[in-house]
Symmetry: C2
Subunit: 388 residues, 2 copies
């Protein structure tokens, strides 16, 4: 039997024979009643009680002091980087293995991405490899880090918690401090993921969440900046709401701001979804165990398992092919998708995309290996729920 057919069979045994999406939103709670309240009261837009509540609820879930709701994760990353001092001509360390938004947000600040290699254990930035690379290419001058090759300041790094699996943030923060580099966490995929008992996104100066439709919690479209720094939170709120100064009626704006608000309608959906987060994480962790057992007997593949000391939300379930069968990846994608079981490969490596082909990039053997070997499996929490 072909490996592709074995995988289709294993998936069918594990989650049933029906057509199944990669990740669908799940609205079983107060979604409709909160959204209906917005429509009934007319408060659907940029001001409204659900935005305030969503920000409070998020800060509580993440165990940090502040959350600022924004239009989406990309917008949140752009603003977070700008607030943390990234500007035109700077360089920002970004994982080669990430969704394109991580690098785009850097470009939207007028800065340039500098791509880094991955770690097999976390799927995120490799800290030892980055340490070696910085020792080679970086020089400290006047309390700032510069790339000797390009002459540009390396102003920030953006570790991304791939599929909800946390990067080793304490070690990364040590490295960043050693090289005077600000850390903004791309926590778009890791709402509900912890290192010990501490939420991802709260180790760096700030972290950025996403609530797109495919995420563990959705607002339709949306994001948030989370931080323990009241000044970053205040700046984030100001800059994302056209930088308008409070006044009874006058339109006084004190800097070039953005319209990156989250509408109240979307925040209402988010409030209801957040109420379900605990259950979603629980079910997705069950699904991971379930897949781990089901694929335990299949040679040549392994279901990715969280690192010790971390508590992952398992946003997307991940099958890792052995190098020896990596050449069958597309056959497996083909067979599973044709069987109605939606799977996908990981993102094209960012330095391979045309607009980033000439960007700075360290050697990325691990990212290249992972890019050939990752297949994401159907991951919705519904798959482990009792039928209603």
């Amino acid at each position: 039997m072909r490996l592709a057919d074995i995988i289709v069979q294993t998936l069918r045994n594990a989650i049933g024979a029906a057509r199944v999406a990669l990740h669908e939103p799940w609205f079983r709670g107060n979604e409709w009643s909160y959204v209906k309240e917005c429509i009934d009261t007319g408060w659907v837009s940029s001001v409204g009680s659900y935005v305030d509540r969503f920000e409070r609820d998020l800060a509580q879930v993440a165990g940090c002091s502040h959350a600022v709701a924004v239009a989406n994760g990309t917008a949140g990353l752009q603003v977070a980087l700008q607030i943390c001092g990234v500007g035109t001509g700077d360089e920002v360390l970004v994982p080669a293995l990430s969704f394109v938004a991580t690098a785009n947000a850097v470009k939207h600040c007028g800065a340039e991405p500098h791509f880094t290699d991955s770690d097999f254990a976390s799927l995120g930035m490799s800290i030892p490899a980055l340490a070696d690379h910085l020792s080679e290419v970086a020089v400290l001058r006047g309390g700032a880090c510069y790339n000797k090759r390009t002459g540009r300041r390396i102003a920030a790094m953006v570790p991304m918690h791939t599929f909800g699996h946390p990067v080793d943030m304490p070690a990364l923060m040590d490295l960043a401090a050693r090289f005077c580099i600000v850390v903004v966490e791309d926590a778009a995929e890791s709402l509900g993921s912890l290192i010990g008992t501490r939420h991802t996104g709260t180790f760096g100066s700030c972290g950025v969440l996403s609530f797109n439709g495919n995420k563990i919690v959705t607002t339709g479209g949306g994001g948030a900046i989370i931080t323990n720094d009241p000044q970053i939170a205040r700046r984030a709120k100001h800059v994302t709401t056209t930088a308008r100064q409070p006044h009874r009626w006058a339109f006084l704006h004190d800097e070039v701001g953005y319209n990156f608000r989250m509408p109240n309608l979307n925040a209402a959906l988010g409030c209801a979804q957040l109420e379900g987060l605990g259950q979603f994480v629980h079910l997705k962790r069950q699904l991971a165990h379930h897949y781990q057992e089901a694929f335990g007997a299949v040679d040549g593949v392994a279901v990715f398992h969280e690192r010790a000391g971390t508590h992952a939300n398992y946003w997307l379930q991940t099958l890792i092919l052995d190098e020896s069968v990596a050449d069958q990846r597309d056959l497996i994608l083909e067979a599973t998708n044709q069987a109605g079981l939606m799977t996908r490969p990981v993102w094209e490596l960012l330095p391979h995309l045309p607009m980033y082909r000439d960007s700075e990039c360290m050697a990325i053997p691990v990212a290249e290996s992972l890019a050939r070997r990752i297949i994401n499996l159907p991951s919705g929490p519904q798959l482990m729920a009792e039928p209603q």
Copy 2:
């Protein structure tokens, strides 16, 4: 009796004594049922049938071939300008009298605003004044227009249809052609406003609409780029959706794109709202006549009236104070708002804001006069509706 008290009294006689907002959304149609369908089906996010339908409905309403729904008007303007060739170091002509987003979008492209004077008859860009100014400062070189003073290319102009009152677009298009300047219309306030029978936003290369909560039609937050140019529409869709190339599963992005989609949830609200647009415009035009009659007897003020040949949506009703009583503006704002009748002045002139103080700016005597004399009155279509 003080003018402020006369105005409070006139407003109360015209629209009743209850507390009234400047502009509230009005949800009396299919808003619930469309939004509920999104939640019931799980299609709340970046892909979904309401986005497609909203774009089709918008194109039909505006009488153009294409509409691309985006996250908001500011994002739409930024992308429209970029697609029309505006880039770093360019200059863009922007009315001094506009909401700050018009100038911010220019800055977000890396370009610089160059502020222009207003016209008493349209409240928008003065075409004769701009023609004189360009004759003085502009020079044509290789089919492009340059500012002799700054050396920068004047790449585009962004006429804004203030409060829904159309700029004289045929005349402006002639002027723009004469100086080889691209026109992107800021139609954020003018959905439903026509010149003759042609919709605002369809004269320039493209136009940008807004559906913020205070607009005539709302999606909570949102915007759209409308155009008759299929290539602009295709580029707008591509760039606002992370520039991803179609593929069954691979993540191939071919340029630095944005996450400027409108979520399906918001588009659903928009589809229902668009069904009411005809009625909203009708009621707001009735309200304008009603105010014109009510204030006809008040010395020193006039309710702004659409230019001949135009059919305005009267998004915000506008009281113009005579110069002789302009010094009473803040007293009037104070008295009306204290009486629960929400009014507001026009925006602070953009070249007076700190971040635009050093921008290029022609003489703006008309804009300065209008800025002292405009008061927006309560404008919701509800004010003229039969009680339910």
